[in-house]
Amino acid sequence: MISFETVVERALTGQICSEQDFDLEVFVPNLRRMIDKYAIKYDPENPVPADDELADRVWAAAMEFLSDTGVYCADTERIIRFTNDEIEQALKGGPCGVVFGEGKDAKAMPRRLPEDKTPPWCSVGAGGSPVSSEWNLLNLVKAYAENPLGDSITTPSLTNVDGQMIVAGSPLGIEGAIRTTLLSREGLRRAGRPGMPIVNGIASAVRSQEHIAGHRFGFRRTDALEIGTFHEMKVDFDSLNKVAYSLAAGSLIFAENGVILGGLSGGPAGTAVVTAAYNPVDLLILRGAVQHPFPTHFDIGTTSTRDTIWARSLANQAITRNSPVPVVNIGYAGAGPMTKMIFYEYAAWVIGAVVSGGSIEVGGSARGVVVDYTSPVEPLFASEVAHAVAGMSRREANRIVVALLEKYESQLHHPPTGQRYQECFDVFTGTPSKEFIELYRQVRREMTEQFGLKLQHASLYL
């Protein structure tokens, strides 16, 4: 694979192009051409497609699109281009069996294929959802880590330092990142899983200096910094700086791509192609050990809509059939804790992702943006569902996902926010309210009785 230094050199010397020209004269026409050429068409009746030939067409479209389009560097206003050979070489040498975590919590990240029986990797936690206090962050991380199906932690995002709102790029951003690392480590220790890897480092950090500061205060080489592209097919110096630091520190990277359905990629077909096209970008530029995609609906702000589930499932199939880079999908639900809808939303996208070859990270409740609307019950449930559907056929999964969508689709524009963590949990004992346990029990029963899912008894709460 070409070196990171070569990538940086191309960012500094590549073809000059204005951002608007890249968007409208390069990205959009190239993508439209590929969608037409490879006849990729959204099928709302089948949110979890089961067509290997279609998946391979998406992959072919994605690779051609990437070599035609390149990746835009916003700071230099230049295009970083890769040849087909460079893309193929990167994929051939892609990561395989990378171990995350330490001690008894160390585990190799599996490469999964569609309908694979291999249990998916389950990253559990908040997906960076904001919390109001250090106490909440500490207790939540402890509770997430107590999930026996959890393989890694995705921490919440601290919103203030001693009552002052964290401002990205300021000293408060540095201090917030440091505290996030220290508190997360302490939460893992209290759960008896000190070696469990943190993979969304660093939740509150925006700028590279914040990632570096947080990393210096307790991150390990077997944890992962989460480094992303931005919309669409773009990087900047700050993202490249994070990669440069991570490479120097010998740390792992979760390479994040949140394609916006309805944004520059257009509809579901374009979203699937661009999500797949990011896979080699995550190797070549972000130097990721994992692709971490989350196609998100532009208007609804979740990954649980019918069209995003279709795009994610299809992209997963395209990627996992053709690339060695493991996929860990993150997802966001519209509803909040202590609602039935959130369980349905998570079940729907998790099932689509897992039977399509992916692993999961759960997740962001209440779109991952409302302070304290997160709880340990949703990731627990999602990991139970993920394990239950490993090996399921895509056709069977599609039937279940369609039935789940019927339960919540009409509420997506105005989902119930539910309850804050401190309302539905006893934060001192770390246990859910009786009502929450009963709701969780009911939904588990529905999954078994209506869909035949055999959920493992992973729960501490039953």
Binding site: P130, S157, I166, V167, G169, H231, G262, G263
Partner: protein, 223 residues
């Protein structure tokens, strides 16, 4: 070609975002004696309106909206001088300074807002991403804006929206502008807490919100 079919073609080229064909069609229309005002109101504007409606129905997405807006702006560069010369300048609904706040690089929602505002007849000055509070204020002063619209996607960049309001207050010009906030991390509660003039939950809400606040005309007494 009848005027009606010319109007249909103008509308269709706007919907297709085909700026070159639009300019050629305008040239032909002017030669046929159709007024610049009719070209805009009877041909181009219905096309923009249609794009907005299709966008709301999820039938088209950001690329179509951006391409229509680019085509529209290219056409207006030709038509506006002619309108001025004829003393029939098109009344703008208002001027909006738009951007994503400092240290935030998310652009999609902001771009959708820009497209929706243009479709609704606003003149939009898009400052892009990672925009400082002072840059919002300076641009608003420079272009005599009515509205400052600031997007923030992250809990740690939301405070920059508050900073814009504080900069306006510090310069004694808070009442000159409506400040609208939005973005994934924001809520009505947050907007209220920083004394913003409006909050858009989604990018699609932005145009109706902007129209609503500007119709109230409580700001900018001199406007």
């Amino acid at each position: 070609m009848s005027n009606e079919s010319t109007y249909e073609q103008l509308s269709a080229t706007i919907i297709a975002g085909d700026k070159d064909t639009l300019l050629a069609t305008i040239e032909d229309a002017l030669q046929e004696g159709i007024s610049p005002s009719d070209i805009i109101e009877m041909g181009m504007h219905p096309g923009m309106k249609e794009i907005g409606e299709r966008f709301a129905r999820y039938e088209v997405f950001l690329p179509e909206m951006m391409m229509a807006a680019v085509a529209w702006e290219g056409a207006m560069k030709i038509l506006e001088p002619k309108l001025s010369a004829a003393g029939t300048e098109r009344r703008k609904v208002g001027r909006v300074v738009l951007g994503t706040v400092k240290d935030d690089i998310h652009s999609i929602g902001k771009n959708i807002v820009g497209g929706m505002l243009k479709i609704s007849g606003f003149e939009v000055f898009d400052l892009g991403i990672d925009v400082t509070a002072s840059a919002f204020v300076a641009k608003a002063e420079e272009v005599d804006a009515d509205i400052i619209a600031a997007s923030a996607l992250m809990s740690t960049t939301m405070p920059q929206q508050k900073s814009i309001i504080e900069h306006l207050e510090g310069r004694g010009i808070r009442n000159k502008y409506f400040v609208l906030v939005g973005g994934a991390a924001t809520t009505q509660e947050w907007a209220d807490s920083i004394n913003a003039d409006g909050y858009g939950r989604t990018a699609g809400d932005a145009a109706s919100l902007a129209l609503k606040v500007i119709s109230g005309k409580k700001k900018g007494a001199s406007k």
